[in-house]
């Protein structure tokens, strides 16, 4: 066996390892009820059915959870980008007293582990009457994403030549309009990468949503999946259909926009 063949064989092995759990989930989702619980397990559903998907979409609250996740995700993306872009721009362009302390101070908050501050956040959310609302989820998700996104965007702004700011200022722009009209549009690839990472973070988050909301109407996808078993009994076919539906948006975005994702990560994402 030549080295080249060996490389291919090994790569295929790793691919199998990576996709097998996903394929098993998909296979289960497409099986009728009695087919799900056969032993030894069968990989190809025969007959296959979309019944599990229609049950999840029509007879459970999952659609509501999807809408909630989408809403919280989009709000968090807008808020995170807005706040982080301004801060990143200030760090890339201005000198001001206390700049380094502020920059590293904000970045350091990304190092505070989520599990260490969940209990205080729960207490604070109850105190300010934001517990069990959409807004608290948006606020916490945003706050946890802003430091790394700020750092990422600072890097992108630094690649935009300063002369562009200066000529915009000479043309009569203020700092603000120069930022909005000239610099921000040029940093679009960076903003796209940041938006993707933030959205996936919110869509995948379980802990924040699980601890800061309680009512069914506020539940997000991850929490809905977790509680599926206790709520609807152990129906693996339906659960896997719900899992596949939850995977679809992030998987789709990832496959379509891989380069942005990878660029974003290597630019330094810290909080997992």
């Amino acid at each position: 066996m030549t080295t080249k063949t060996l490389v291919y064989v090994l790569l295929v092995c790793v691919v199998v390892l990576a996709v097998v759990p996903l394929l098993w989930g998909l296979s289960t989702a497409l099986k009728p009820k009695d087919e799900v619980v056969t032993y030894p397990p069968r990989w190809i559903p025969n007959p296959s059915t979309l019944r599990n998907f229609s049950v999840v979409l029509r007879e459970t609250s999952m659609p509501r959870y999807f809408a909630n996740s989408l809403l919280i995700g989009l709000c968090s993306v807008v808020l995170t980008l807005g706040i982080a872009a301004h801060a990143g721009y200030a760090l890339a362009r201005f000198w001001f007293p206390g700049k380094n302390v502020l920059a590293f101070g904000i970045l350091a908050t990304a190092m505070i582990p989520g599990i260490s501050i969940l209990v205080p956040l729960y207490a604070l959310a109850s105190k300010v009457k934001l517990y069990d609302g959409y807004s608290i989820l948006v606020i916490v998700c945003t706050a946890w994403q802003v430091p790394t996104v700020m750092w990422m965007l600072k890097g992108f702004f630094e690649t935009v030549p300063r002369e562009l700011d200066e000529s915009a200022l000479i043309d009569g722009c203020t700092r603000w309009t120069a930022f909005y009209r000239v610099i921000l549009p040029l940093a679009r690839p960076g903003l796209a990468a940041a938006a993707l990472l933030t959205f996936v973070f919110v869509w995948n988050d379980f802990l924040i949503a699980f601890t800061l909301t309680v009512s069914n109407s506020r539940r997000v996808v991850a929490v809905g999946l977790y509680q599926y078993i206790s709520q609807y009994g152990i129906e693996w076919g339906e659960l896997m259909a719900a899992v596949m539906l939850a995977l679809l948006p992030v998987l789709g975005m990832f496959l379509a926009l891989q380069r942005h994702f990878i660029g974003g990560l290597t630019a330094g994402a810290m909080k997992g």
């Binding site: 801060a87 908050t109 260490s116 209990v119 009569g172």
Partner: protein, 298 residues
């Protein structure tokens, strides 16, 4: 005449007002939602509590109780086993995969996309997928073990196999991040270096040990920091896959903190655990940063 740069405020603060205004929302948010809560956690850890109510100030009483608690030592041992057990598998595996992906092969982009796919799968879904894959009654994972002659076993019901299995699942969910970082590092190695090595007739192993490894070492260290913190603070995967069981055999420190807080509502005690976890994060980070510095000096 005013220059056309818009308004120009006067005075020390005025001169920098714009910069501070740009920074303000980020400062407020980081302060209110990260910094204040960790300070508040420390404050709460000094009290005996009933639900959210502070009953009595007890100084370091919670910490004394924690360090005397044999369960805490067990949690810590499980956490460290989980972290280093995962690292020992993920780092060499990811380096190997990154080297494979760095070869000139056809369909490289397809291979890369499929191999790092688990990266976007959330911990919730990882737990559900693997829980079903390793289901002791119907899972193909168990069937494979049966074919291998191990027998039909419940990997998550046996106290000896639960933690190693959990580590295996964690490896599946977290290797892509290391692969991405290492692949990026490998791609910065100049082609001339590889060609020069080939001309010199160095063996594959020599090439790896003397060129590849030293060049990716800093990235390896960065990946180690990120993964250590990710593993040490992980709650979701463990909570959903094992819930800490069987008989507490997978109850890592972070899960213990979660349970004290949101299952038992021992708020003061949970805050204490949170502070201890934070302390470990700081220690890990400082340790690795020191290693990174030393490497920079060489």
């Amino acid at each position: 005449m005013e220059p056309s740069t818009g308004y120009t405020p006067r005075g020390f603060f005025g001169r920098h007002a714009q910069a501070y205004l740009f920074m303000l929302p980020a400062i407020l948010l980081a302060g209110a939602v990260s910094l204040y809560p960790i300070v508040y956690a420390f404050f709460l850890s000094l009290f005996r509590t009933r639900y959210l109510e502070r009953v009595a100030f007890i100084g370091l009483g919670n910490y004394r109780q924690l360090f005397a608690d044999p369960a805490f030592r067990q949690n810590l041992i499980y956490s460290l086993t989980y972290v280093f057990g995962s690292l020992i598998v993920v780092l060499p595996f990811s380096l190997g995969v990154a080297i494979l992906l760095n070869q000139r092969v056809r369909y490289r982009a397809v291979f890369r996309a499929l191999i790092i796919l688990p990266w976007v799968v959330s911990q919730t879904i990882i737990a559900l997928l693997w829980g079903w894959l390793l289901n002791p009654d119907f899972g193909p994972g168990i069937y494979a073990l049966e074919l291998l002659g191990v027998g039909k076993v419940g990997l998550f019901t046996d106290t000896r196999s639960a933690l190693p299995t959990l580590i295996g699942v964690n490896v599946w969910g977290s290797y892509p991040m290391a692969v991405i970082l290492l692949l990026a590092a490998l791609q910065t190695i100049p082609k001339e270096l590889k060609e020069a090595a080939r001309v010199d007739g160095t063996s594959r192993w020599q090439h790896f040990a003397h060129i590849t490894l030293p060049l990716v070492q800093p990235t390896l260290l960065v990946a180690t920091i990120m993964l250590t913190l990710l593993y040490f603070n992980m709650v979701t995967l463990v909570l959903i896959l094992t819930g800490g069981g069987p008989l507490g055999a997978t109850e890592v420190l972070s899960l213990r903190a979660f349970k004290e807080g949101f299952d038992f509502w021992h708020v003061g005690y949970a805050a204490t655990l949170g502070i201890v976890i934070f302390f470990f994060n700081v220690v890990f980070s400082l340790l690795y940063i020191r290693l990174l510095r030393q490497e920079g000096l060489q």
